[in-house]
């Protein structure tokens, strides 16, 4: 049962990240995902210090706000200080992450967080932290949180599909016809922040980046259709979670590490068998042609 809990939680994390990752890649903002996943650290610590609990809602809000602050700072440094985007990303997220590290070390006694947990997460403990209603344990807390996050993201993408599509493809045109690029940008970044925080308990701040980018990058190589890209990204993410888990069990190693490693290996497979060269992908392009 514990195996199953871990695999399902990992799959939920991977799917949530994969869906958002598709948009990050298409917006050429993959590194912004990286930045947000690190920069939310002070948000988590501060939320913890204020609320005194690891209650997920407080943390989500705290980290969500910091995530949006991060995007804002990146834009600000880029536009006002006239720094290149990559440089402004580098400055912003390392700075915020460092503040987080300092805060953790300062309040180490009071904060039930340590650097290892923050960086690498510990998905193996997921089944231990159960949600109890009445006297009945109804399964791991993380499972429910990630379930809610994934549902929220799917709703966000379903209802905002055309706005996300247009603001990603052609922001200038979107603005011209009266669709706010800024609004959708910050909504997406808010979603990335929330997902990162919810995921980071399980997979940690570094590995969440792998799940944001690798499955989406895999899907990008496999299809020319955004809807299929979203689907393939989820499949790649879930596949990485399942195979990664069993490899970790087999090797008796870090589960999160194995999952991220598998995400990379799946990406390499997709790259080797990409639409222009592969045997594998020709099958996909045929279905895509039949579909269209």
């Amino acid at each position: 049962m514990n195996d199953l809990y871990i695999i399902i939680t990992a799959s939920l994390v991977a799917s949530s990240c994969a869906l958002l990752g598709c948009y990050l890649i298409l917006r050429k903002m993959a590194m912004v995902g990286d930045a947000i996943s690190h920069a939310v650290l002070p948000g988590i610590v501060i939320a913890f210090l204020i609320s005194g609990s690891r209650d997920s809602m407080t943390m989500l809000i705290g980290a969500g706000l910091i995530g949006i602050l991060t995007t804002f700072l990146i834009e600000f440094l880029h536009k006002k200080a006239r720094l290149q985007t990559d440089a402004s990303i580098g400055v912003t997220f390392t700075w915020l992450f460092a503040i987080g590290v300092v805060l953790i070390s300062l309040f180490a006694g009071k904060v039930d967080l340590d650097q290892d947990c923050v960086l690498y997460g510990e998905i193996a403990y997921v089944p231990l932290d159960t949600l109890i209603i009445g006297n009945q344990s109804i399964g791991p807390r993380a499972l429910y949180i990630m379930g809610m996050i994934l549902t929220a993201i799917i709703l966000f993408i379903v209802f905002g599909y055309k706005e996300l599509f247009l603001t990603t493809f052609d922001p200038a045109y979107a603005t011209a016809i009266g669709i706010s690029t800024t609004l959708w940008h910050y909504l997406l970044m808010g979603a990335v922040s929330a997902t990162t925080v919810a995921s980071f308990e399980s997979v940690g701040a570094i590995l969440v980046v792998a799940l944001l980018i690798a499955p989406a990058a895999t899907a990008y190589l496999l299809t020319d259709n955004l809807k299929w890209m979203l689907v393939f990204a989820c499949i790649a993410g879930v596949a990485a979670s399942v195979t990664g888990y069993y490899i970790a069990v087999w090797l008796d190693g870090s589960i999160a590490g194995a999952i991220a490693m598998m995400a990379g290996i799946i990406f390499i497979i997709a790259m080797l068998f990409s639409p222009t060269h592969g045997i594998f992908t020709k099958k996909f392009s045929r279905t895509a042609a039949a579909d269209s």
Partner: protein, 270 residues
């Protein structure tokens, strides 16, 4: 210089746009009539693209205001359509021609609503008008330059707007596509639509446009092509004499380089 226009489609008053305090557009005052095909002419770096972007509110204005059909821009967004420069988007984006053309319907649809049968019909009809009906489900990454331009044009048409801003729609397209586009623009203006086109090629100006707007940081002239597109105005636009705001040496140097149309060669479209 300006003729009196009773109901202007576009009115720009005292518009200045500056990047880092360096003015790109200076004190632009103009009115454009409805139902005309208007060409914006000027050398590279004259602020032609900046002008249409500023008019559509895509750039912050340093001063001045813009009115479309006598309303502030945000009240008439649904009447505006825009054809950005072809190179401004990533054509490797996972989308089909139909996906892109349907974007033209998004503004009218509003939040949360999906395109319906009627929207698909409009999109297909517009693709027919630009001669792209054979490529409806083609991935946009597989289009030639001319086909990309037609796709953008179909998207703008699908909006059924009243005023169209087009940023160099003829850049890098072949002669056949250019002719097809211009005759389409003609039918649009006949239907009382206003079409404003950033244009590079001086040769075709008199043939294509009803009105011209000569621009080089400041507005040189704006009026019917016959009376405005004169030797003297051109001289002034293209650096025949020193202006206060532009460095003439810079201008002359630019003149020696071939413009973009000359450089980009695109495969034949049809």
């Amino acid at each position: 210089m300006n003729e009196e226009i009773i109901t202007p489609a576009l009115e720009v008053h005292d518009l200045t746009v500056a990047f880092d305090r360096k003015p790109v557009l200076w004190n632009i005052d103009l009115k454009l009539p409805e139902g005309k095909l208007v060409g914006i002419i000027g050398p590279n770096g004259a602020g032609k693209s900046t002008l249409i972007k500023a008019v559509m509110g895509l750039l912050p204005l340093s001063s001045g205001y813009v009115k479309l059909f006598d309303h502030p821009i945000d009240e008439v967004r649904k009447k505006i359509s825009y054809v950005p420069q072809r190179e401004s988007v990533d054509w490797d984006f996972p989308a089909s021609v139909l996906d892109v053309v349907l974007m033209g319907r998004y503004g009218k649809l509003g939040l949360f609503r999906r395109p319906r049968k009627a929207d698909y019909d409009v999109a297909l009809d517009c693709l027919k008008k630009v001669g792209m009906e054979a490529y409806i489900n083609r991935q946009i990454s597989q289009l030639s330059g001319g086909q990309q331009q037609r796709t953008f044009l179909a998207r703008a048409l699908a909006q059924q707007a009243d005023i169209y801003f087009m940023d160099e729609p003829f850049a890098g397209v072949d002669a056949a596509t250019e002719k097809a586009i211009i005759s389409l623009l003609r039918t649009m203006t006949e239907a009382k639509k206003t079409v404003i086109v950033v244009h590079h090629d001086l040769q075709s100006v008199t043939q294509y446009f009803d009105w011209v707007l000569l621009l080089n940081t400041r507005l040189i002239a704006c009026g019917p092509t016959a009376t405005t597109f004169t030797q003297q105005n051109l001289q002034e636009t293209y650096g025949g004499k020193l202006t206060l705001l532009s460095d003439v040496g810079d201008l002359i140097r630019r003149e020696h380089f071939p413009n973009r149309e000359g450089v980009i060669k695109q495969p034949k479209t049809i």
